[in-house]
């Protein structure tokens, strides 16, 4: 959905996020910025209905309001500070899982606007869940789609597809940027480590304020405690302690929430966050 937020749109950069609050009694939830229009003063967000707040959000109609919408938060992607000519020499591939396609899009778009064609892998449960295909195709070098059930594109997980591209098709990448569920990012980093490819991930831990005042989103990166909301959300994937991050993200899981995820999994046949078990 598009949200009118001129100050946020004016200052937004790829890699950043916003925090939204639905109403007086609502909680603050972080969402990545999918697109922004600095002239129209709008910011586009994409979300997946997984809990009470996102369910309420799905019921919003055009003309409704969020009580609070704050951002842009976090550090912009590292590459926007880099030398463009040097960046052009690099072969970059984005790997997006599920709604991870949303934050990946503004990054590829930014690169495209600066004359760089980055490739992209977008993975999802099935064709019905594929997000932003047209938009990403328009700005990416090559777009590869992977579906769990094979209903569209490659059948299998994004990790398998990336491995095939490297091993079977002999693609040589200098930089992988992976955004999606933590388990997916973990397995992407385990894979790219074998090939020695620099990998950036965008972490999505539990957040409250998003401005660095509570440390609820803290992670261990390279042995040091970092706050994802101000130091990140993007980090060198090979330095992130994913097991700790995944454990911490379960802190507020409720019985109700777990039941909802199980119900969705049954319905769709997609075993969320568990499907990569074969790598264990």
């Amino acid at each position: 959905m598009d949200v009118a937020a001129p100050r946020v749109a004016k200052s937004a950069n790829p890699g950043q996020f916003v925090i939204v609050k639905m109403d007086e009694k609502g909680e603050r939830i972080p969402l990545t910025i999918c697109d922004y229009d600095k002239i129209a003063g709008t910011v586009t967000i994409v979300f997946q209905t997984v809990g009470a707040s996102t369910k309420k959000m799905a019921l919003l109609a055009e003309g409704d309001y969020f009580s609070d919408f704050v951002g842009p938060l976090g550090q912009p992607s590292e590459f926007i500070e880099e030398n463009i000519e040097e960046l052009k020499q690099k072969k970059i591939i984005f790997v997006a899982g599920g709604v991870g396609a949303a934050p990946v899009y503004p990054q590829i778009k930014w690169l495209h606007e600066h004359g760089i064609a980055a490739d992209a892998i977008v993975g999802c449960k099935s064709k019905d869940y594929l997000l932003l295909e047209k938009e990403i195709k328009a700005v990416a070098g090559k777009l590869y789609v992977a579906t769990d059930d094979g209903s569209y594109g490659y059948q299998g997980f994004v990790t398998d597809l990336l491995k095939d591209l490297i091993e079977k098709e002999g693609q040589k990448y200098d930089l992988v940027i992976a955004i999606g569920p933590m388990i997916m990012m973990k397995f992407i980093t385990l894979l790219t480590k074998q090939y020695g490819i620099k990998t950036i991930v965008s972490m999505n831990p539990v957040m409250v304020d998003g401005t660095g005042m509570c440390g609820g989103c803290r992670l261990t990166v390279g042995g040091e405690t970092r706050f994802a909301c101000v130091d990140g959300p993007e980090f060198d994937g090979h330095l992130v302690d994913f097991d700790e991050a995944m454990r911490r993200s379960t802190q507020y899981q409720t019985e109700e929430g777990r039941a909802e995820i199980e119900r969705q999994e049954k319905e769709t046949g997609h075993v969320c966050n568990l499907g990569l078990g074969e790598h264990n």
Partner: protein, 461 residues
């Protein structure tokens, strides 16, 4: 009535209040306030005033209370303070105004804080309008942060006729008054909201959800939005951790997170969406006011609570009144012990905290006796939740995104003490952003001085 003793104030009984979030201290009635006001000797050279960071004319307002002229009393306080209902509740009066009261030498000092609180509550309940200002002069000043220093600075400038806009990062104005200090010490809907509304009634605009350094920069405010001066009152909100093993286990929280969930997000109330892990047996590490607030919040959420502090009771930095309240409510104090490791179960959840016993050695630079570890004295406390209340430092966001604005090694902005002038022309700062974590009233004092300095600067510009 005995002159040496102050009129006692009604409080909720400990065994009842430990089960609710209602205010502990119920405040004076009119009769009690008048009775207490009669004790003031109306000194010719009042030492109490010299110890008040915003120099309230204390004998004068107390004289009005004595005469039952409560509105006049409110106007005297309003000349110096925009947040009297807050300060009357949370100031450490024992080391400020009341600490120097002559009566305190032979008995109890006059209960200045409780009288200030009475006057502020009375004027709220009787809708006294204190919003007089000079005519608007059309000149714009930006204030960053809606905490005590920013609200004070904004209020003072608005009274002088300036057009003031406050930019606040959170969705509610008040800073530590809304996210940090709990409801049972400082009611939000009545007291804090009313004081914020009073500042708005002076014509101050408050834009919430604006993070200066991200949403907009200081340079943009001055160059594109027409603000001629800026006051930075962004506080010290970055929590410190101990960097001991196990600190990232599930169930370890900063006091800021725990208190923000409870106070700002109202996780303790039915019907609000933000969750909180109350814990069954909680250790709070630290001995300041924030530690007491976190401990007493956890207690009210149903936990058995243990304070863990490395010095002894005499060195606790928290206000004596709050420590006393905490003990009455049944908080356990583990003094002279320091955590060395947080223990977790196989699933990564906290199951205990390993501490080492301490003894007090020679005084350190701060004048407090330094705690020294006793060898081979490690022991474990079984807990399922740990709250770290070790203090906070300023957030580097504004200094790191504003060229020419300098901060010291601790991240505190460099600013002149009397004026709040920073290293950047037209930019002033005060409160915890400059001093590091201190008190509400010191932040207000800094906001007040900076407002005067900004007015002087703009007059000559």
């Amino acid at each position: 009535m005995e002159i040496k003793k102050r009129v006692p104030v009604m409080e909720q009984a400990p065994e009842i209040r430990r089960t609710n979030f209602d205010e502990v201290c119920l405040g004076y009635s009119e009769a009690e306030a008048v009775e207490e006001a009669k004790r003031c000797l109306h000194c010719k050279k009042p030492l109490c005033v010299t110890q008040c960071p915003v120099s309230i004319n204390i004998p004068d307002f107390i004289e009005h209370v004595k005469e039952r002229e409560f509105e006049k009393a409110a106007r005297v306080i309003a000349e110096s303070s925009s947040l009297p209902a807050v300060c009357g509740r949370v100031c450490p009066q024992e080391i400020q105004c009341e600490g120097q009261c002559v009566l305190g030498k032979k008995g109890d000092a006059v209960a200045i804080g409780k009288l200030e609180r009475f006057v502020a509550d009375w004027s709220r309940e009787n809708n006294i309008d204190l919003s007089q200002t000079l005519p608007k002069n059309g000149r714009k000043v930006a204030v960053i942060g809606a905490g005590p220093s920013g609200l004070t600075c904004a209020g003072d400038l608005a009274k002088l006729g300036y057009e003031v806009t406050i930019f606040e990062a959170l969705h509610k104005a008040g800073g530590v008054l809304v996210y940090g200090i709990p409801e049972f010490r400082l009611p939000k809907e009545t007291v804090v909201q009313h004081e914020v509304d009073n500042v708005k009634a002076l014509g101050v605009k408050i834009e919430t959800n604006v993070i200066v350094g991200r949403t907009v920069s200081v340079d943009e405010l001055m160059q594109e939005e027409g603000f001629e001066a800026v006051f930075i009152g962004s506080g010290a909100g970055l929590p410190m951790f101990m960097n001991i093993p196990g600190e990232n286990s599930n169930g370890v929280f900063s006091a800021n997170e725990y208190l923000t969930r409870s106070n700002l997000m109202k996780a303790f109330k039915e019907g609000y969406d933000t969750p909180i892990k109350a814990g069954k047996k909680v250790a709070v590490v630290g001995g300041g006011n924030v530690a007491m607030d976190a401990a007493r919040t956890a207690l009210r959420l149903g936990a058995e609570v243990h304070i863990v502090y490395r010095r002894s009771q005499a060195e606790l930095p928290a206000r004596a009144e709050e420590v006393h309240h905490a003990i009455e409510e049944g908080i356990h104090f583990n003094l002279l012990c320091n955590p060395v490791e947080i223990l977790a179960d196989e699933k990564g959840w906290v199951k205990g905290i390993r501490c080492i016993r301490m003894e007090l050695g020679e005084p350190d630079a701060s004048g407090r006796r330094r705690p020294v570890e006793i060898p081979n004295s490690a022991f474990e406390i079984e807990v399922d939740t740990v709250i770290m209340a070790l203090g906070t430092t300023p957030n580097p966001l504004i200094s790191s995104t504003t060229r020419g604005l300098e901060a010291n090694k601790k991240g505190c902005l460099i600013a002149a003490e009397e004026t709040g002038k920073t290293t950047l022309e037209g930019v002033f700062a005060g409160g915890d952003a400059v001093t590091g974590a201190a008190t509400v009233i010191l932040a207000m004092g800094a906001g007040k001085k900076a407002a005067a300095a900004i007015a002087a600067y703009l007059k000559n510009k």
